[in-house]
Symmetry: C2
């Protein structure tokens, strides 16, 4: 029996995707081998890779002057790769700090460049995003980096920061493919796959052509965008099974109606859950309304001593992975693309029942 | 129907491993979720990770003063990580060049350190390994690096290079777990998983404690051994499915008799195949006898214009992935742990029949 899975990442995958992978796990394309057992340079795998890229381009509307890379190392690898590829020593870079992931990105960037934190939401305990008209980008900054959605704080930008001529760089790990995106506004964005794209172990980087070829001489080749773009992301053996599953997942997005349909589903799921939290006295969400995430909904019980009982009873009801992040505690429901309205409805019913029996 | 798979990597996996993964792909441990859909910090996944490490330590006899890391980026990532972690700018490092992979490792190391190539087998067209007693390690070198097995050339060291007090560093991507190893002789070794350990996308690094904590300040955190060791290889989200499959594969090695049994199987497979190649006039292997690989057996037809017909007929007979590497052409059979004696016997029967009908 499958459960309602609210994991923050690695996260729920569509059952159809898993069942497809399961059905061909020992025999892919009638080859008599698993997709894991064939060369990444075989025509069968090259087709998987090319179809994934074509689908990603189609679904997100990626212009031709952007390269699409499939790398290893996660968003944390990109925290280093971005300054290594886009700056020279001594360059200034701008960052917006909206919480835990921004903070990590900033700390890593400081190894390589002069970081200006042009907005920091610490005063609100990272429950806000800066007002769009307060951002002042540094003249000559190599880029402006922001975290479109903070998975721990549950804070999401409702707008694209305006960076003028400075390339806009974004961590979209938890929002990519959740709603339409104007790719042309970005210099670069990246996403670990394990929330909305597939399993962990594969990272998508989409980068404008004019930003390629600037890497520092001491950039590890596996993190050098121009090298990887020149090799179709196959400088060395890529994570083939993850890439294949990412492709199956993108097929599911397309067959479900694309990013517009994802956005409608996600908005409805989020509105359902926030309405329940706001409408019940026993629960609260600390994030300012305009910055509430569609993807990660942290919430608190009026009596935090009941957290463990809440989790135990939820688990018994088939509602899993509702613990808050270990750094902040409390509770959290992550509701990425693959989490259904039915799962959200089941959670809301549970919230009501738990309040009725415990408040 | 499963085929006889001689792929060089990603390579054959034991059918038992694939079937186990298949059986629990939508419901791992009775959780109602795939192993891909749970947090890497959940107790179920942490158990997978811990069991994998314990099995790797047990099978290879890894002493307690070595850290075992599970990283992303492949061997090519390690080509950069090794000098970043083990040298300061200006340090000298020694490399042995025995072919394509050594050459790549050397090129990447030159970005970071002063590389001395203390032996280079170019004169034999990389069909040899240096004589053990000719190696002269540089005084004060930060390490000596060698490639224990060259997958393209089919050349394998029959001995461990003697580096004295200089840490010995080895790329064991294609030989790890194929035969017993005296881990205590190494400062560090590493292996992309996609030959003898599991699927692509996960890389094992085993490093002696005293070599940790020396990384350059500008080392990307995902490649920093001390940072990763301190985080149990979970600084960020690891490639969970690959890690899980690696664990299943290690269970298969243990249940099959461990590395001693693997060595016996592998030696017999290699001897069977080389005996056939040497015994038939129509085939040849260019590698000096003492340096012939147990894992990768390149071979040439007396008439190379028949290569394509050989491959077509072999494929029809259920023998796949026998193309030589695209950089060298010819033919190659890779016979890692998961390739059975039965597959090698089938290949030998085909070699004989093809010679009979085409010589």
């Amino acid at each position: 029996m499958r459960v309602h899975n609210f994991a923050a990442g690695p996260a729920a995958l569509p059952l159809e995707v898993l069942e497809r992978a399961q059905s061909e796990l020992t025999d892919f394309n009638g080859l008599g081998m698993s997709v894991m057992e064939i060369s990444h340079r075989s025509k069968d795998f090259v087709a998987v890779a090319a179809e994934s890229e074509a689908l990603l381009r189609e679904l997100l509307g990626v212009p031709d002057n952007y390269a699409v890379l499939f790398l290893q190392g996660g968003a944390t690898g990109q925290f280093a790769a971005i300054p290594l590829n886009l700056t020279a020593p001594g360059d200034q870079v701008d960052y917006i700090n909206t919480g835990a992931w921004s903070t990590k990105a900033i700390a890593e960037a400081r190894k390589f460049a002069e970081v200006n934190v042009i907005a920091d939401e610490q005063a609100s305990n990272y429950s806000t995003t800066p007002a769009a008209d307060t951002l002042r980008v540094t003249d000559g900054a190599a880029y402006l980096h922001y975290t479109a959605n903070e998975t721990i704080g549950g804070v999401e930008f409702g707008y694209l920061p305006e960076a003028g001529d400075v390339p806009l760089v974004a961590d979209l790990s938890s929002t990519i493919m959740s709603r339409p995106l104007d790719v042309s506004k970005f210099g670069l964005f990246y996403a670990g796959a394990q929330k909305n794209l597939g399993p962990s172990g594969i990272t998508v980087v989409i980068v404008r052509d004019d930003l390629l070829g600037r890497a520092r001489p001491q950039t590890p080749s596996v993190l050098d965008y121009a090298v990887m773009a020149g090799a179709d992301s196959m400088l060395n053996t890529p994570p083939t099974f993850g890439w294949y599953l990412l492709g199956l997942n993108l097929q599911w997005v397309r067959d479900t109606g694309g990013v517009t349909a994802m956005a409608e589903r996600n908005q409805r799921k989020a509105e359902t859950l926030y309405a329940a939290i706001d409408g019940l006295d026993f629960y609260s969400n600390p994030v300012e309304t305009r910055s509430r995430s569609w993807m990660n909904v942290p919430f608190l019980l009026a009596d935090s001593s009941l957290d463990q009982e809440f989790l135990t009873q939820a688990y018994a009801a088939g509602l899993t992975n509702l613990e808050g992040h270990r750094s902040v505690g409390g509770l959290r429901a992550s509701i990425y693309n693959a989490t259904s309205q039915e799962s959200v409805d089941a959670l809301v019913a549970f919230l009501k029942e738990f309040e009725r029996t415990h408040a």
